[in-house]
């Protein structure tokens, strides 16, 4: 996984609530068997509309997505995270995230930042007032700072933060406890089903 320490970049406001993962990456894109090339499918249906915010010249190259509440609801497709990352996003800000999306994001190093709904809206206003404005995300300090000095702190648990800062792979961490897994397996009920 890609480590996340600090990131500075421009942001783009997505003023929609309930942006489900079917919108982030439509099903037709899920037929791929590789992990790359999903940026083309990001918000594929919405991007056909020239008025869509990601099509505006002032937001090209933005790397922080600031979205309405309930972002990433619906399908478990991790492709949604891959598409956002491959398009160039490093973080998504929303008042609420779908549980599975949030989980997938932290596994991949895309930072989900949860802020109160009014704070998200103020952020969107700021961005619209000046799309060139830069923001810095400092994961160590749990801060989202904007270039004229505004600071917004956000919550993230210590463990996830540590894993993101270090860019650690969860499987490797779990395999340190392989003995505990084996011991657990020896005590499972014999009547539990097997597929074999």
């Amino acid at each position: 996984m890609e480590a996340f320490t600090t990131h500075t970049g421009r942001a783009v406001p997505l003023r929609r609530s309930n942006v489900d993962t079917d919108q982030i990456i439509p099903a037709v894109w899920l037929k791929q068997v590789s992990r790359t090339g999903f940026e083309k499918g990001l918000f594929a249906a919405w991007r056909e509309d020239p008025g869509f915010v990601l099509n505006q010249p002032e937001y090209q190259g933005a790397s922080i997505l600031v979205a309405g509440p309930d972002f990433g609801t619906g399908s478990s497709r991790e492709h949604a995270v891959w598409a956002l990352q491959q398009y160039g996003f490093r973080a998504v800000v929303s008042a609420r995230f779908g549980d599975i999306f949030r989980n997938n994001a932290t596994k991949m190093g895309l930072l989900p930042i949860e802020l109160p709904e009014d704070a998200v809206e103020r952020l969107q206003d700021k961005i619209e007032a000046n799309p060139a404005k830069e923001f810095t995300i400092d994961l160590e300090r749990r801060e989202l700072r904007c270039d004229e000095g505004g600071v917004q702190t956000f919550e993230i648990d210590d463990y996830t933060r540590w894993r993101l800062l270090e860019g650690l792979d969860d499987i490797g961490l779990t395999l340190r406890h392989a003995d505990a897994i084996t011991a657990f397996e020896q005590n499972r009920e014999s009547w539990l089903p097997v597929t074999a």
Partner: protein, 465 residues
């Protein structure tokens, strides 16, 4: 202090816990399908890892599969590659697979329970958000992403935090003609698409206890539409009766031992929930969605709401956008909304009881002119049983299409799709923009409402016929 059902199942699967770290949670059953697994198997290969417990893993082909001509190669080369990739991966890592054409093939959440692999007290995961379905048996079952699929393949565990607990209590009796689907749609509209976020929902109360296993699966299936990763129902005699004699259910002395344990899987009287909602079943009527998220629903007897009636500005904006996408005008009676397509199927409502409900309504009637009706069984086993009962003949006589098993128009990854602007009444679980095909418009309904709608061509309940 007392524990909830979910706490009990969770506790029984903690392999390791340490202050400040997530728990290592053991997984009893890992279900796999072709869409969310290829990158996980690739990851295993790259790290030179194996599947730790192929004997606790099972795969099926469901999302991409065509529902006609299933013995011919899949026409879409990209879909075909994905299905072939699953076959190669299963062969290489020794995972049991039910491929297209196999009598055991079907939607991943239909085949687990059907085989008796889903049992009370188990942990069940799948790279699919509707894994919540299996919670109907009192299992802790939830969807995971591809990174976590790889994690389970490699370790048979997940790194987890204890979820919060939410109780949805449904008191009273569902009125005649009101089904499990109407109930869950009403629950989602009440608590919202984020209402269960971060929680496991336990469904309780008289109306829940009275549901069949199929009905319970329909309810738990759509927990994710209410924002909850998992939904659960305490196992009882209905659960045991469903399980008894299934291929992978315990038998003999094991059956008795298992039942004794399963009976302990209920929330203690003094347990507390982080959130509680109470619903009166007797007030419910057939329920449908009008918008583009599953929380945008209303009784069939209502009208398309006026966005201005929503106080919350975010919900108002969402309603405005939804009406525009859906091509609906506020104030239109929902019973006046005409559809082009009726889809019966999916992991929400593709089981035998659902097909029987549809057949009961449509028997001796005709699908309205200009309406296409697709009936897609959730598994080949469901298909065989429906044919044994003659349901296929009922559907065909009415003018509906009877198909092979798969996800089909629930998400339109195969050729079963809506065209832009087309409108469906669908027994599936998601009415998102473009879910059933680009530009398609979806109304989520129960099987009974789907059948009545097919007959009239407008959103209807059987009582309207």
């Amino acid at each position: 202090m007392g524990r909830t059902l979910a706490d009990k199942v969770y506790d029984a699967h903690v392999v390791r816990s340490a202050e400040g770290e997530p728990d290592v949670l053991y997984i009893d059953l890992h279900l796999i399908h072709e869409v969310t697994s290829p990158q996980a198997f690739d990851g295993l290969r790259m790290a030179d890892r194996t599947v730790r417990r192929p004997d606790l893993t099972i795969a099926t082909e469901d999302h991409n599969v065509p529902t006609t001509d299933i013995l011919a190669p899949i026409a879409d080369p990209v879909s075909r590659t994905q299905v072939e990739t699953l076959r190669k991966n299963c062969a290489e890592f020794g995972v049991r697979l039910h491929p297209m054409g196999d009598a055991g093939q079907g939607i991943v959440h239909v085949i687990g329970p059907q085989l008796g692999l889903t049992q009370p007290g188990m942990t069940v995961v799948c790279g699919d958000s509707h894994t919540s379905t299996h919670g109907a048996f009192g299992a802790l079952a939830f969807g995971i992403g591809t990174s976590e699929v790889e994690h389970v393949l490699a370790t048979q565990t997940l790194s987890q935090r204890r979820p919060k607990m939410m109780a949805v209590t449904v008191d009273g009796e569902l009125p005649y003609g009101v089904t499990a689907k109407d109930l869950i749609l009403a629950i989602i509209t009440k608590i919202g698409t984020g209402g269960g976020q971060g929680h496991v929902i336990e469904y309780r109360g008289e109306a829940i206890r009275s549901l069949s296993m199929e009905g319970r699966m329909t309810v738990c299936n759509m927990s994710i539409e209410a924002g909850a990763r998992a939904g659960m129902i305490a196992p009882d005699e209905t659960t045991f009766a469903y399980l008894e004699g299934r291929p992978h259910a315990p038998s003999g002395a094991d059956w008795e031992a298992a039942k004794e344990y399963w009976r302990s899987l209920r929330t203690d009287d003094d347990a507390t929930f982080d959130k509680e909602v109470v619903i009166d079943a007797s007030e419910l009527t057939p329920f449908v969605t009008w918008g583009t998220n599953p929380g945008q629903g209303a009784p069939l007897s209502a009208s398309v709401p006026d966005p201005a009636s929503f106080e919350d500005p975010t919900r108002r904006a969402a309603a405005e956008r939804a009406l525009e996408y859906m091509g609906l005008t506020a104030g239109t009676s929902l019973r006046d909304v005409a559809v082009d397509t009726v889809f019966v199927g999916s992991c929400t409502n593709g089981r035998i009881e659902d097909l029987r409900a549809v057949a009961e309504v449509i028997k001796g009637r005709k699908v309205a002119d200009g309406v296409r009706m697709l009936v897609v069984p959730g598994s080949m086993k469901v298909k065989a049983q429906a044919e044994e009962e003659g349901l296929n003949e009922v559907f065909k006589a009415a003018g509906a299409e009877w198909r092979e098993a798969g996800c089909s128009m629930c998400l339109g990854m195969n050729p079963d799709q809506l065209k832009p602007g087309e409108r469906s009444a669908s027994t599936s679980n998601r009415n998102f923009e473009g879910r059933q095909g680009k530009g398609g418009r979806t109304h989520l309904v129960s099987p009974a409402v789907a059948a009545a709608t097919a007959v009239t061509g407008r959103l209807s309940a059987p009582a309207d016929l």
